[in-house]
């Protein structure tokens, strides 16, 4: 039950943050990547604010034996920097630059621009499914 409350609260804060910060506007995200054009640095401020809070959160986490409302931490422990990581990030950047959208803003924007965001989200789901089929 507590897991469900946290998931909904965290998602809502996340969606609200994306909306306030202007990151649900694909042209603004694209503007951040357009460094040779009319560069829009807003995304750097968003990332800065989010990372700032998370640096504190990680410091708190290091002092905890377990999370406040769950039995144990389930965190990625992979250290390997391999072709999958780099290849995935390169591909992600291509799609991100082309459409100005990444998963969070695309999902949140479903409520305000259901058709455009829906086309992107459905395609993203298809891309994730393709990956699953290739690696199954």
């Amino acid at each position: 039950m507590r897991e469900f409350v946290i998931a909904l609260a965290s998602g809502t804060l996340f969606g609200g943050g994306l909306a306030i910060s202007g990151m649900m506007d694909p042209s603004r995200v694209r503007g951040f990547l357009d460094i040779f054009g009319a560069w829009d640095p807003t995304l750097a401020f968003v990332m800065g604010g989010a990372v700032l809070v998370m640096v504190v959160a990680w410091a708190v986490q290091r002092g905890l034996a377990k999370p406040y409302f769950a039995s144990n931490f389930k965190l990625p422990d992979t250290q390997r920097i391999d072709r999958k990581l780099i290849g995935g990030a390169v591909l992600f950047g291509v799609g991100w630059g082309l459409a100005g959208l990444c998963p969070g803003p695309a999902l949140g924007a479903l409520i305000i621009e259901p058709i455009s965001a829906g086309i992107f989200v459905a395609s993203m789901a298809a891309g994730m499914t393709l990956y699953r089929l290739f690696t199954a």
Binding site: T12, F14, G17, G87, F92, G93
Partner: protein, 148 residues
């Protein structure tokens, strides 16, 4: 507040929104012990990922993303959006982003926010790579007429 030289930038709104995003990720980390990586949560919601939050929790997070956007849209200010002009860009972009996030184990939230703050070498390299790749893509798109 305006940023000199960048008339369209929203540094204050961006930073405040970023703090909220950080709080969202902190709540997930310290409350449930998990990374708030949206691509992973989305894949989990669609049962395309073997590990992660329970499936109902993944769905609730996604519902929250829409709910948070709606609350801001209604109470703070209408969310201005400009989407790509061509449907093929949405389709191609979505396909590539979906495949890429799974291959690279994360996106702007998991690697960019959570992993960078943790100083995870994997996430630092992934984030630098995806920004470099996105920047190169926009530059090339502008040259070949796919800019918008």
């Amino acid at each position: 507040m305006m940023l000199p030289g960048f008339p369209y930038a929203m540094p204050v709104e961006g930073f405040v929104g970023g703090l909220l995003i950080g709080l969202a990720a902190a709540l997930m980390l310290l409350g449930s012990g998990r990374i708030a990586g949206i691509s992973g949560i989305a894949a989990r919601a669609m049962m395309l990922s073997k590990s992660g939050a329970t499936i109902p929790a993944a769905w609730l997070f996604v519902v929250g993303l829409l709910l948070g956007a709606l609350v801001v849209h209604v109470t703070v200010a209408p969310i201005a959006t400009e989407f790509p002009p061509s449907t093929w860009m949405l389709i191609a972009g979505g396909l590539i982003v979906g495949f890429g996030t799974r291959l690279g184990s994360g996106c702007t939230s998991g690697h960019g926010v959570c992993g960078m703050a943790r100083l995870s070498p994997r996430s630092l390299i992934a984030t630098a790579t995806l920004i470099a790749s996105g920047t190169a893509t926009v530059a090339i798109a502008n040259v070949i007429g796919w800019g918008w």
